[in-house]
Amino acid sequence: MRVLWLSSIACNGNTHSFLNYPYMEQFLNDFEFIYHPVIDSNYSLKEIVTETIACDILLIEGSISDEFKRADVPVVDIITKYAKIVKKIVTVGTCATFGGIFRESDYKDTTGLHFVKEVKIDKFKDLLNKTISLSGCPVHPEVLVNTLYAIKKSVDLQLDNFLRPKDYFAYTVHNGCTRNEYFEYKVDNHKFGELEGCMFYDHGCQAPFTHGSCNKILWNEVNSKTRAGLPCMGCTEPTFPKSNLFGTKKNMGIPQDLPLGVGKRTYLTLAGITKAFTIDRLEKKLFDD
């Protein structure tokens, strides 16, 4: 399979994340980059933009603006040209999907390929049925690679409303976190980086309302943000980035954003019950000092 990795307005974070894919050699045997910004490839960017090189998958990294050019050619024109010949288009990361952090850039009307935050845009609407969105800041390398293999094997991926494969995005990041017990009993006496405590109640963890597989498919096959003791910042969501990422926004003590699909009354009823009890084991340190 021939793949074009096109960088638009981006920090190359997804490239860095991708380079951590542990089975890169195998991957490069199965896929060929006609162009990638940092991996040796057979064509130069100049050739990519002036000619039309045969290609199966177009990967777009970074947000999109009519003003932004690569090798002096508007990136929207490059997308339009290659979109016609490829089998699939994959938006790699939250910027390419929803606009992400570069929505704040000085380029005019910066967007994702099909969305600005949650709002669908029309610009590339005839490409909708070719696109798969992989949000994340950065995208998880295994999510990217596995999706590319799924395309190669013509697997019919089920997508959510933002065109994200449900295999990775139907879950919340909360699913699989090692702190779930602390969540259940509402214990957040967390100190950043420590093993104890759930960060939902005070420390801003957005995992219960963020779609992704970070705690099911670990990063570098070892760990996740929340397991390590940093709150999930909701980087796969259209609303990313938000501000005040290290504190839970509350109104009179009640978290403003509740776990996905859980109604306020349900949440408060359960919270009222669990808060009435103190579970010693969860209040203590796991290891003695």
Binding site: N251, M252, R265
Partner: protein, 195 residues
């Protein structure tokens, strides 16, 4: 519709409430309650195994009763100021029409903690009621009407004030009926809680 058994349970709780408010909680026995309902003591135990269990069921019953009323108010499309007034109205109306209910809450539930410590930990037995107060606060803050603060500092102000008024009424100290105070109290509460 409540089942026959549930209806009977409600009758028992209602008559227990009335007896508690006249004779006091400790002076009222299960046989007294059975007598008042012309039930046999044995049958009474089919509904409630002990007075402690009855006591806990009653507080839940009151919490559900008030919780439902508050939920209706919370679901109205009105300003926080209007909600404040309506909640106070409902609370006072209950205190006037069913004084034994609020009495039980203030004089028995809050001051007889040893009866409630097992099974009514924290605010479990008054969950429905407290949840609605929380929603009223939370929505008030979210729409910019109420000042964000610790839940309990707001809760204490609200409930302490209303409870105090009902208490004064119960002691026959209030010169006027509770509903005469709704205007002023709503004004005060809203002024204290708003931004």
């Amino acid at each position: 519709m409540l089942s026959k058994k549930e209806q009977r349970k409600e009758q028992i709780m209602q008559s227990a409430l009335e007896l508690f408010s006249v004779k006091g909680f400790y002076n009222t026995t299960i046989p007294d309650i059975a007598n008042a309902l012309k039930m046999s003591v044995g049958n009474m135990y089919n509904y409630f195994k002990s007075k402690d269990i009855l006591a806990k069921e009653i507080i839940k019953y009151i919490s559900i009763y008030l919780g439902h009323k508050l939920k209706e108010i919370n679901e109205l499309d009105i300003s926080t100021e209007e909600k404040t007034r309506k909640i106070i109205e409902v609370y006072f109306e209950t205190a006037m029409k069913k004084p034994e209910m609020i009495d039980y809450f203030l004089r028995i539930y809050l001051s007889t903690r040893e009866v409630f410590k097992d099974g009514c930990e924290g605010m479990i037995c008054v969950n429905e009621f407290v949840t609605e107060i929380m929603i009223y606060f939370e929505e008030g803050v979210k729409c910019g009407d109420l000042r964000d603060q610790d839940f309990f500092s707001a809760f204490g102000l609200f409930m302490g004030y209303l409870g105090g008024m009902v208490f004064l009424r119960g002691e026959n100290i209030l010169p006027k009926e509770l509903d005469d105070y709704v205007d002023d109290i709503s004004y005060n509460v809203y002024k204290a809680l708003s931004v």
